[in-house]
Amino acid sequence: MANTAKFRIFRFDPEKDRDFRFQDYDVPLEPGMTVLNALFYIQDNLDQSACFRVSCRAGICGSCAMHIGGRYRLACETQASIAKDSRVTIRPLAHLPIIRDLVVDMAPFWAHYKKIQPYLQPGDPDPERERTQTPADRSKMDILIDCILCASCHASCPMTASDEAYLGPAALVKTNRFAVDSRDRALEQRLKIVGDEHGVFRCHTVFNCSLACPKEIDPAGSIANLKRLATTHFLCKPEVR
């Protein structure tokens, strides 16, 4: 079985099973095959009950983040050959309720996302033409707008595990994206939302999020920036609290 990818996959249906289990699957390896292709092979040929989320299979939609071989990755961007030499375990995103197998309930994640008011608040009526922005100002958002909301950071963070109300790295990256947008005028409001014990100050700078991010966004850096802004802001203007 030299040319086989060997996976051990998390299986659980909370309504039917008393506990989770792991099931082994061996997939014939093809050149260029990704872990996502291997999951499809399993679903098509070995076990039609297997389930996972998928959409673009090109690393841009954020559906298929899962824990593969010891770290969070997008299944579509990971070569199946990593499971050639020894069996690789695949688990769902952590710190979110399981719906079934590799599919988790993302509702808490989206609730945090919505809480931070994730939209531009320019504070004035729309002009006739565009609001201008210099290329230098635009470039401040460069990497932040790459976030695909895959929740790898959320799942890797020990603080999201211990505090359900913690906004988590993804929502804070989004906050920072608007905080650094030269067109946005709601910084004070934003800092109020993220400036408490369930916001940026819950972060213990573990940096798991920055290691987990498949887009190399460095959420920890965003959180540090927001902490700095919040601290300066609140120290200078204590009345805003």
Binding site: G32, C56, A58, R100, L120, D126, P135
Partner: protein, 577 residues
């Protein structure tokens, strides 16, 4: 029974924009989507979105009329010309609206939205955000959806994510609502609505390889088709010249717009050897470049006989990192090639469904209360070939128009909340269909049929088509449909039953494949993306018209008709670049 004034199906660019338009008219709207909105395929669009704004110094003489002309010429004169003009006129407005909503477009030195050249366009009019334009537009729209959701009272704006619509209920020529399968709970429910807008995207997965997401299947088109709404111009399937070999992932047209070269195994920029691309070279439109690439490969001048090199090395590391960073990531992650030092292996692959649900300029169809917008619709502004940068634009422009039209329709309607019996009947029929698939004793697997169909369509109904191969394809599609009757879904639980979802989608793929093969067979000419080696010339005398196919549910067969193209601005001419 769940009730909303308007139900939008699909939450990509067109669906979200439509829902926002409905909400702006203060009409209750719900979005039903089989994936979370930000997972929609609009997010994969890379290159940009066209609008005659003249921001680029070389675009000073651009105008909406010139944008319309390029669109019409690009369509090989199959676009309905007044619709194309309405489309390009609305373009600058939707770009500005997106910008006002916070969309992080790349910028010119003076701070205005940046624009770059694109294939088939007379001026640099493609607005972009590096090579992630679709991603930032989709996320901006979802952000606005959240804003509207926050702002709305009485649940006036609601998103149902992972609710997959599987049936459209029409009664006495009026739309009554939909049947939807909620993946997380396994429930199947009837949802009543005064108006339904389909924004389900293209049917790319009918083909293999395709740049399209796994979710972009024929089902979104098949649902209205089975309910009796005609589909139009299905034979027009766009093949993108540059999809990565072997996986089919898209390499943006921006690669060529920014100055990339296409070279054969001898390192020659072969496009100069073909009369239709000799002048524009790499910036000629997609159909022409794709055909000439396929000819090179077929005539043995491809690399390893399989692919062409997309060479952007001469742009230099700095420009590649600034303008095409996503492309570099994809090339490195999926084929292990760094485009700064090596050419990228590419070949043409299915990319876009020009055909779709037959609609007018406002997304309205022949069924009262039923609308379609975006890639699943066919207005038609793309005609026989869509220009790069016009598809994101289509989602926003026609999403908006369809949303407004649906809202106006609801506001003008007097008898509300009708059709409960028809919806219940639809629900029962759907449950029975699901049960038949999971209880089947047949030995066929939907996945096998899906792959065989994809390869068959690419091989026999692909870039080059001819009579005998189309006849063979017809026979084989019919054979696969027959085999589908014996498909068994090997899991009967209803919670996240992906095997069931896939089987339903494969059935949709088969229905749309049939309409594509049919259209390709009866259109005995070559126009835009549709190239018949046995009829290599365009034939305006006989085929300057749209092909329509209507499904007759009672007789279980399709009824073909034709519909004239609306001209009025430009007389058809030979198309050269």
């Amino acid at each position: 029974m769940i009730y909303h004034d308007v139900v939008v199906v699909g939450a990509g660019g067109a669906g979200l924009r439509a829902a926002i338009a409905v909400n702006q008219k203060n009409v209750n709207v719900a979005v039903l989507t089989k994936v979370h909105p930000v997972r929609s395929h609009s997010g994969a669009a890379q290159g940009g979105i066209n609008a005659a704004m003249g921001n680029n110094p070389r675009g000073g003489f651009d105008s909406v009329e010139k944008h319309a002309f390029d669109t019409i010429k690009g369509s090989d004169y199959l676009a309905d010309q007044p619709a194309a003009l309405k489309f390009t006129r609305a373009a600058p407005g939707v770009i500005l609206e997106l910008e006002h909503w916070g969309c992080p477009f790349s910028r010119m030195g003076d701070g205005r939205v940046a624009q770059r050249p694109f294939g088939g366009a007379g001026f640099p009019r493609t607005c972009y955000a590096a090579d992630k334009t679709g991603h930032v537009i989709l996320h901006t729209l979802y952000e606005q959806a959240v804003r509207f959701e926050h702002a709305s009272e009485r649940d006036n704006f609601k998103v149902y994510d992972e609710w997959m619509v599987t049936r459209l209920v029409i009664e006495e020529g009026k739309c009554r609502g939909v049947i939807a399968y909620h993946l997380a709970t396994g429930k199947v429910e009837a949802i009543m609505a005064e108006a339904v807008i389909f924004a389900t995207g293209g049917a790319g997965r009918v083909y293999l390889p395709t740049t399209n997401a796994v979710i972009s299947t024929g089902l979104g088109l098949a649902i209205p088709y089975w309910a009796g709404v005609p589909v139009k111009d299905m034979e027009f399937v766009q093949f993108h010249p540059t999809t990565i070999y072997p996986t089919g992932i898209l390499m943006t047209e921006g690669c060529r717009g920014e100055g990339g070269f296409l070279t054969n195994k001898d390192g020659e920029r072969f496009l100069k050897n073909y009369s239709d691309s000799a002048k524009a070279m790499e910036t000629a439109p997609r159909d022409i470049v794709a055909r000439n690439m396929q000819r090179e490969i077929n005539e043995g001048r491809g690399i390893d006989g399989m692919y062409i090199n997309l060479d952007i090395r001469h742009l230099g590391a700095e420009k590649i990192m600034e303008r095409l960073p996503g492309i570099r990531d994809i090339a490195m992650n999926f084929v292990g090639v760094d485009p700064i030092t090596q050419p990228i292996p590419v070949r043409p692959g299915q990319h876009y469904t020009m055909g779709g649900v037959d609609t007018d300029e406002n997304g309205a169809t022949c069924v009262e209360g039923f609308y379609a917008a975006g890639e699943c619709a066919c207005v038609s502004v793309h005609g026989a070939n869509r220009l790069g940068g016009n598809s994101l634009l289509e989602t926003l422009v026609f999403g908006k128009f369809a949303g407004e039209a649906a809202a106006d329709y609801v506001l003008s309607k007097s008898a509300l909340k009708k059709g409960e019996a028809a919806l219940k009947q639809g629900l029962d029929a759907e449950l029975e269909k699901f049960k038949k698939l999971t209880d089947s004793t047949g030995g066929e697997k939907a996945g096998t049929i899906r792959d065989e169909l994809g390869r068959l369509m690419a091989e026999k109904v692909g870039i080059f088509r001819k009579e005998d191969e189309l006849k063979e394809a017809w026979k084989q599609v019919k054979g696969l449909q027959k085999r589908f009757e014996n498909v068994r879904v090997g899991y009967s639980g209803m919670k996240f039953n992906q095997a069931l979802v896939m089987a339903l989608e494969v059935e949709g793929n088969l229905a749309m494949a049939e309409t594509i093969v049919y259209g390709a067979t009866v259109r005995k000419e070559s126009r835009g993306s549709h190239f018949r080696t046995d009829f290599p010339k365009r034939d305006d005398e006989n085929f300057l018209r749209h092909s329509l196919v209507t499904w007759d549910a009672a007789e279980k067969k399709m009824k073909p008709t034709w519909k004239d193209v609306v001209l009025g601005l430009h007389e058809p001419k030979e198309r050269k670049y």
